[in-house]
Amino acid sequence: MDRTQLLIGVAVALFSLGLVGVIVRRNVLVMLMCMELMLNGVNLSLVTFAQQTATTVGAVLVFLIFVVATVEIALAIPIVLLLVRDKRTLDLGAYNDLKG
């Protein structure tokens, strides 16, 4: 199998695993980590395509995704901490009143 095909396959599999994790798991922190896994899959596909076309734009985009992922976690974790302080649990079922 071609190297590009292999890497794109891995990227798609990582994204799907993260999506399944976000849907299936009930722990809020585990859901956050599965979102990170999805971002990692996207990063791998970007790097692969950038290598294939021999451009630097993919690397720039990956770097920006690093920054955005860090900011996302830095904001999501205080929110989770506040929710846990309010509800005393990490289980998703307790947060039903967030449904608007």
């Binding site: 190297r3 292999l6 890497l7 891995v10 599999a13 990582l14 695993l17 993260g18 399944v20 994790g21 299936v24 798991r25 722990n27 922190l29 585990v30 956050l32 980590m33 599965c34 990170e36 896994l37 990692n40 990063n43 791998l44 790097v47 692969t48 950038a50 290598q51 630097t56 734009v57 690397a59 720039v60 990956v62 770097f63 920006l64 690093f66 920054v67 955005v68 992922a69 860090t70 900011v71 976690i73 830095a74 904001l75 974790i77 205080p78 929110i79 989770v80 901490l81 506040l82 846990v84 302080r85 649990t89 990490l90």
Partner: protein, 152 residues
């Protein structure tokens, strides 16, 4: 046998890293305790960094390990240790992995980043400032609501 393996060491290593990435990614969904999930995610990210290194984008590999494993996941592990205290009393272990690694092959990236894509660089700084302000605002909101609960 060994000869052909050595000649294709690049592809073999790539295959091994891809398989390990997928395996630890699948472990993330199966494992029950959040700390073990975090360890599986760290394993995934380190093997992804190895894949980036094998592809030749060394500075992205370095940033993958430094930013994701060094910053994001250490933060996550701390929060899991902070919140896990009253949920489960299983064994907890944390391993902070920050290998010292220089950044190389970065010249083309830097000139493109600061020359052609300078607007994105500036937007990054705006994003970071917004994140700091938002984090402070979240803390302020929690303090205010805590005061309101205590007084009223």
């Amino acid at each position: 046998m060994i000869d052909s393996l050595l000649r294709n060491a690049d592809s073999v290593l790539l295959l091994v890293c891809a398989a390990a990435t997928l395996a630890s990614g699948a472990l993330m969904i199966v494992l029950r305790q959040p700390m073990r999930v975090a360890m599986a995610l760290i394993t995934t990210m380190i093997f992804l960094g190895a894949i980036y290194g094998l592809l030749g984008v060394h500075f992205i590999a370095a940033f993958q390990v430094l930013i994701y494993v060094g910053a994001v996941m250490v933060f996550m592990v701390y929060v899991i240790m902070l919140l896990e205290v009253r949920e489960s009393d299983g064994p907890r272990y944390s391993r902070l992995l920050v290998p010292g690694k220089g950044a190389f092959g970065i010249a083309a990236f830097s000139t493109a980043f600061l020359g052609e894509y300078w607007l994105l660089f500036e937007l990054t700084s705006v994003l970071l400032v917004a994140a700091v302000v938002a984090a402070l605002a979240v803390i302020r909101v929690s303090r205010d609501s805590g005061n309101r609960k205590r007084h009223g």
